[in-house]
Structures are given as C-alpha cells and as structure tokens.
C-alpha cells in the first residue's frame, strides 16, 4: 500500500476536494511518540474508517484534527484552514466539525433538548426557537423526539449515542468525527447507532470513523486506514482492504477481530 510520501500523494486520495488533510503529522506525549509521520486525507463526502490495535493512536489521530490535542510536527488543514496555526480561531473551526465520543459525553446536568440546543445558542448565536426547531428535527430523525425533556442518565447507551450524534449534527458541520461510537454499547444497541451513521454516510456526510465494526466499513466506507504503533500502515480503498491486498499486521489484526 501507499507508504505515504509528501511529494507524491497516493492515487487513492488525489481525487476530489480535500476536506481534511493531514501531512506528515507527528505528536509526542513527553518522550513517547504517539503519532509518527501520519499523512492522510478525507475528501468531501468521503467516509474513512480507521482501525488498528488498542493504543495504536486512533483516538489521538482524531483529536488532533479539531485541535483537541496539539501536535508538534507536520500540518493539518480542515477545509483549507490550518489547525496548528496560532492565528486560527479553534473554537470557530471546531464548531464546523461534529464529534462523537466512545462514552457519549452528553452533558449530564441538562436535558436532552438542552444538550442539543446549547452550542447552537452559545456558538452559532441561533435564537431559542430556531435552535429548538433544529434540535427537534434531529431528534425526530434519530427517533428520540419523545425523550427530549429527559436527562441523559435516563436514556440507554444507544439512545444517548444517538442524541450525541444529533448534538453534533445540530451545528450543521462540514464533517463528522467518530471515535469508537459503538464500543461502549451493549451488542443489541450497536445497530441502532450504526443505522443512523449509515444513513448519514449515504447522504454524503464527510466522515472519519474509528471503529472495529467491519460490517459498517464494508457497507459505507470509501477508504480504510489501518494504524499500528502510531503509524498509518495502510491507507487504501475499501475494496483493496477487504480483498486481501493488505499488509501482514493488518491481516493479523483483521483475523483477530473477525473471529471474535
């Protein structure tokens, strides 16, 4: 696969308009290098699935994109705006990138509707009616309109994660990042979340999804990125990845998760 190279980007990622571009990014936690020269790109409307063993740096890769974690070397741009640039207004940039976490991270002290309204009111400056209207549309869409006045703790994990997706979508983001959105869920709730994500992908949302749900990857991913020990080891089209044209480490990893 493409051992990525700055001067000659891989053929798979040159088509289309790059929404997220990551060029030779390295990041350290103290002496420990979590990301090693990572280069990849997500085009508008593209769905990229990221997989790899625990501790390989997948979450970190996601978090440097919207600046939740700083990085030391390389360059990341989102829709042409440099994430690492001191002059970049990070809160404003982040408001255009939806993010969904493994543990949902709904705000426990406010109701479901307020969870979705909050950033619309405080960041986008929408008024209460406008925000509530948008929130209700999205709750309707994820099938939770009847839960709007409850608190997060009163919902099941699958429901909370669907609210979290709605909260991200309420900002009308240009892309969505997902960090293992189903791995904290009981098995019977995984599909209700994957269904929402699948629908989103089919509508053309630009998505970067850390997941080990290979069924989801097969259904909707355009590309698959495989990470190992801080490196992007594979970055190829879904078909290449699943047809067996993958390196030994990826092969080993896949056979492990598929037999589970």
């Amino acid at each position: 696969m493409n051992k990525t190279d700055n001067t000659a980007p891989s053929t798979e990622t040159t088509s289309g308009v790059g929404m997220i571009r990551m060029n030779d990014v390295s990041k350290w936690y103290g002496d420990f290098q979590v990301l090693i020269n990572c280069t990849t790109k997500v085009d508008v409307g593209e769905v990229v699935v990221i997989c790899g063993p625990s501790g390989s740096g997948k979450s970190t890769l996601i978090k440097v994109i919207n600046g939740l974690e700083p990085f030391q070397e390389g360059e990341i741009t989102f829709d042409g705006i440099s994430v690492g640039d001191q002059a970049t207004n990070l809160p404003k940039l982040r408001s255009r990138i939806g993010m969904v976490f493994q543990n949902f991270e709904l705000f426990p002290h406010i109701t479901i509707i307020d969870n979705i309204n909050l950033a619309q009111l405080k960041v986008l400056g929408r008024d209460q009616d406008e925000a509530t209207k948008r929130s209700m549309e999205l709750l309707e869409r994820v099938g939770l309109i009847d839960q709007m006045d409850k608190f997060p703790a009163q919902l099941s994990g699958g429901q909370q994660q669907r609210v979290a997706i709605a909260r991200g979508l309420a900002m009308d983001p240009a892309a969505m990042l997902f960090d293992e959105p189903t791995s904290a869920l009981d098995p019977e709730m995984i599909n209700e979340v994957l269904d929402v994500m699948t629908e989103l992908a089919l509508e053309g949302m630009t998505m970067m999804v850390v997941t080990h749900e290979m069924g989801f990857a097969r259904r909707v991913a355009h590309r698959v990125v495989f990470m190992d020990e801080g490196r992007i080891e594979e970055d190829c089209s879904k078909d290449e990845f699943f047809s067996g044209e993958r390196g030994e480490r990826a092969q080993e990893f896949l056979s492990k998760i598929l037999t589970h």
Binding site: R94, M99, L106, R167
Partner: protein
C-alpha cells in the same frame, strides 16, 4: 446565683437573641456567597495555564489557610479602615474577613470539583466550539458545583459556627447577645444551654440535609 432553671428568662430574651441570630445568619450567608464567588475565581486562577496567575492564587490560598480565623478577623478590623481611609464599621470589616478567609477553602473545594469533571466533558464542550470561558460556565462549573454541594454545605456549617468569633471586635451576634443577658441577669446556665441547643439543632438540620443530598447524588 439564683437556684432553679428559669425558662422565663429564655422566653423574655427571645427578641434580643433573635436579633443576634439575624446577625449570625447575615454573616454566614454573606461569607458563603462572597467566599464562593471569590473562591471559584481563585480556583479558576489556580488551574489557569499561565504560571504566575496560578502561583499568586496558590500563595493566597496557602497563606489564608495557615492563619487562624481570629487573627484574620482582627487584622481586617484594623486593616480595612486603614485601606479605605475611613471607618467601615465592625460588620463590613468582619464580612470582608470571612469572605477572604472562606474563599481560600472554597477555592480548594471548587478546584477539586472542577477536577472531578471528566476530561471527556471538557472535550465534548470544546468540540462543539465552546470557548474556554463558555465551557467553564455552562459545562464544567455547574457539574463541579453539583459534585461539591455536600462539601460546600459542610464548610458552610463550619462557617456558621465560626461566626461566633466576631465577639472579639464587639459585634453582637447570637452568642454575644446570649452572653450579655447571661451576665446581666446572672443566668449563665439558661442562656448558654439555649445557645448550645440552637446551634446544635441548626447544625444537625444542616448535616441531615447534606446527608440527604449525598444519598440523592449517590443514587444518580
């Protein structure tokens, strides 16, 4: 000293005692509110990424926490009029002393409270585009405050008891008023029993309330 326990004297002095109790409550409430606001600001400073700010806040906290409250009360009694350039009266100098002193404790409580909020919540707020300030205001502080309510109330009960130290600057709180009656009518037994019972009941109510809150949050 006259013999027998005279309930009449207690009833007769209720208005005068109540007047003292009002002052006790005033001092407690102002100390809590002011201390909480100032203490939260201090906590934010202590956690600020800018080293000089967190150093100054840390020094403040350590300083006040190593001072006996009675000394702080004395100190402000003489210092505040000097700084303001005119007498401010015992009440305000004592109120300021309580606020400054309590803030050091509330700072540490709020700091622990802020740190008790999961980092994922901070990420979630940031990821939505909230600024640092908005994230603190709408996400972190409300949760920090909620997590710390039992400890904040316990501290409030301690302050309620500590307000009795204002006798040193001649303010007439509950205890001082009881003391005046006790000495005037030579009814020490009656008056100090009354004081003890009232303090006991109020603090017990407070403690029961804290326990209920703790159970409520433990169930969530």
């Amino acid at each position: 000293m006259e013999s027998g326990f005279d309930y009449g004297i207690i009833l007769k002095s209720v208005p005068y005692l109540a007047e003292g109790l009002v002052l006790t409550f005033q001092l407690t409430i102002l100390g809590i509110l002011g201390g909480l606001v100032f203490g939260t600001l201090l906590a934010l400073c202590r956690l600020a990424p800018f080293a000089p700010v967190s150093f100054i806040a840390g020094t403040y906290v350590n300083f006040f926490r190593s001072m006996p409250l009675i000394l702080v009360i004395f100190w402000f009694y003489f210092l505040v009029p000097f700084l303001v350039g005119r007498p401010v009266g015992g009440f305000w100098s004592v109120t300021i002393a309580f606020i400054m002193f309590e803030a050091a404790y509330y700072c540490e409580i709020m700091r622990a409270g802020i740190q008790s909020v999961k980092v994922g919540q901070v990420y979630a707020g940031q990821a939505l585009g909230l600024t640092y300030r908005q994230n603190m205001q709408y996400i972190v502080l409300p949760q920090a405050f909620r997590n710390m309510i039992p400890i904040l109330l316990t501290q409030a009960i301690v302050l309620f008891q500590d307000t009795s130290l204002v006798y040193v600057v001649g303010l007439g709180d509950f205890l001082v008023h009881a003391d005046i009656v006790a000495n005037r009518d030579n009814r020490l037994m009656e008056m100090f029993s009354t004081v003890a019972v009232v303090y006991f009941i109020l603090c017990l109510l407070g403690t029961l309330f804290v326990g209920r809150l703790q159970r409520k949050y433990a169930n969530e």
